[in-house]
């Protein structure tokens, strides 16, 4: 019972923080609200008994990526005054595009009530032992491919960071 209440509370907070990210005028506030939104999503992971995912989510997103975001925004010193003014046409086209996306989402989710989940939910799947077994047995190739992808991104970043590329 309490998990249901928690779910609704976390969902409400997640959506509220996500909206605040969009509506904040100050980019720094947006980043901080995004961090809070990540926290609520980590809370959802904990509710699903996926503690490992929750911890990694916090470490990677809130702890590393958002710090870099904050870093860049602070260094560029972006604020209300320096934000370029958008034209009316841009705003109108953005409104139309996001409105039609909303219609598509509603249309596709309309039939979702009849969908049955293919597997029953296994509460222990998010624990680290099971996750490790799954990753290194069933999904070994995608796991390794994604690690190579990260490695190549790292090499690319180092190359770009070099002062002179011969």
């Amino acid at each position: 019972m309490i998990t249901t209440y928690l779910f609704y509370l976390l969902s409400f907070l997640a959506i509220m923080f996500a909206l605040m990210v969009v509506f904040s005028k100050n980019p720094i506030h947006s980043v901080l609200y995004l961090v809070l939104a990540f926290f609520t999503i980590a809370g959802h992971y904990v509710l699903l008994n996926a503690q490992f995912l929750a911890a990694v989510h916090i470490i990677v997103y809130a702890g590393a990526i958002m710090v870099l975001f904050l870093f860049v925004i602070m260094l560029l010193n972006l604020n209300k005054e320096t934000e370029p003014h958008k034209s009316v046409w841009l705003k109108a086209s953005a409104a139309v595009a996001s409105g039609s996306l909303l219609v598509v989402l509603v249309g596709s989710l309309k039939g979702a009530a009849g969908i049955q989940s293919a597997k029953t939910f296994d509460a222990s799947i998010g624990l680290i032992e099971n996750l490790g077994q799954t990753l290194f047995n069933d999904f070994l190739l995608p796991f390794e491919v994604s690690s190579i992808l990260l490695l190549s991104a790292m090499v690319g970043a180092v190359m770009l960071g070099k002062k002179s590329i011969k």
């Binding site: 720094i28 901080l32 961090v35 503690q51 490992f52 911890a55 990694v56 916090i58 470490i59 809130a62 702890g63 590393a64 710090v67 870099l68 904050l70 870093f71 602070m74 260094l75 624990l127 680290i128």
Partner: protein, 348 residues
């Protein structure tokens, strides 16, 4: 989830919290006394016998000072900064196993607040959030020096977290668990992890210095270049909270180093003389605190011995020395663990 359980957990939280604050308070006194000892001075000796009431005098001074919030700063975030610093500093104590289980009236009471099975990851999560307090405070001050200090702090912490994480992965490989209680329990007798992972332990300790912003890694508050670093604009107890959270971090880091690498609450040979489990558990707490005090002394000793790094030296040390070393440690650990398989491969 009975009421007894809840009360016991609340009491444990309160005890750990108050001990953390107490140790941090007296660390400020110890820091002055050790600095004085290393510089051949006397140190504080006016308040009480041997100056033992000095932390109280400092606290009163901090509270009584005028509270200044700069007009142009972002007020909410300016106040939030030190708060986040204190919060993240106090959160880590939850996963540290302070001792073995104490048995009172037939019920077992483990001396750890939360034995989560991802203890190490929790530690890293809280650690990586610690930088927010400094960054928010430094930015909200609306001062160039504060901003530079905050940016230094965050880049330093991110850089050293990498090496720290890789050195911990090697530890996780040898212990086979992410639970701190399990890691402490495995180190009974002479099975201390520092003997299994000496290089990883060294890297972890160096990174712990950088993560706590202690000298020789205290560039975020480098007076000679940045006035006061990220807390230039802070005054009164808000400044006090920033400084105090550094001492809490130092206490918790010492506890983590002791738990991960130096046997935690274990002490070799003690099982030979003491057989009562409750007495052993209480002795375990004493041993853990002896190790913690030792490490706090080590932190201070290093601070008053070594000069501060230059910023490029700091980054070189982090990225070009510590990270390759920790990867080497990881590979060596893996090779050692798979030595039979490798031997079979070559002998065949």
């Amino acid at each position: 989830m009975t009421l007894d359980f809840l009360i016991y957990k609340i009491i444990l939280v309160l005890i750990v919290f108050s001990i953390t604050l107490l140790v941090a308070t007296y660390s400020t006194y110890a820091e002055r006394k050790i600095a004085a000892f290393l510089q051949d001075r006397i140190g504080p000796d006016r308040a009480g016998p041997f100056g033992i009431l000095q932390p109280l005098a400092d606290a009163v001074k901090m509270f009584m000072k005028e509270e200044i919030i700069p007009n142009v700063s972002n007020k909410a975030l300016f106040v939030l900064g030190p708060g986040i610093c204190m919060l993240t500093a106090c959160m880590t104590g939850v996963i540290i196993p302070w001792g073995k289980t104490i048995n009172i009236g037939g019920t077992d009471y483990p001396l750890q607040i939360a034995d989560v099975n991802i203890g190490i990851l929790y530690l890293f999560g809280v650690l990586s959030l610690g930088v927010y307090g400094i960054m928010i405070g430094g930015w909200a001050s609306n001062n160039k020096y504060s901003l530079l200090g905050a940016i230094r702090a965050s880049s330093q912490m991110i850089s050293y977290e990498v090496a720290m994480g890789i050195s911990i992965i090697a530890l996780v490989m040898t212990t086979g668990t992410l639970s701190t209680a399990e890691i402490a329990a495995q180190q009974h007798g002479w099975h201390w992890n520092v003997l299994i992972q000496p290089l990883g332990c060294l890297i972890f300790i160096i990174c712990a210095f950088a993560e706590t912003n202690r000298a020789p890694f205290d560039l975020p508050e480098c007076e000679t270049e940045l006035v006061g670093g990220y807390h230039t604009e802070y005054s009164s107890m808000k400044l006090g909270l920033f400084l105090f959270s550094e001492y809490i971090n130092m206490f918790i880091s010492s506890a983590v180093i002791a738990t991960f690498y130096f046997g935690g609450y274990n002490m070799p040979l003690i099982g030979r003389w003491v057989h009562d489990p409750n007495a052993l558990a209480i002795l375990g707490i004493v041993f853990l605190f002896m190790k913690i005090v030792g490490f706090i002394f080590f932190f201070m000793w290093v601070r008053w011995t070594l000069p501060r790094f230059r910023y490029d030296q700091l980054m070189n040390l982090g990225w070009k020395i510590l990270i390759p070393l920790s990867i080497l440690n990881l590979v060596l650990t893996g090779a050692w663990m798979m030595r039979h398989e490798i031997m079979v491969y070559f002998v065949k």
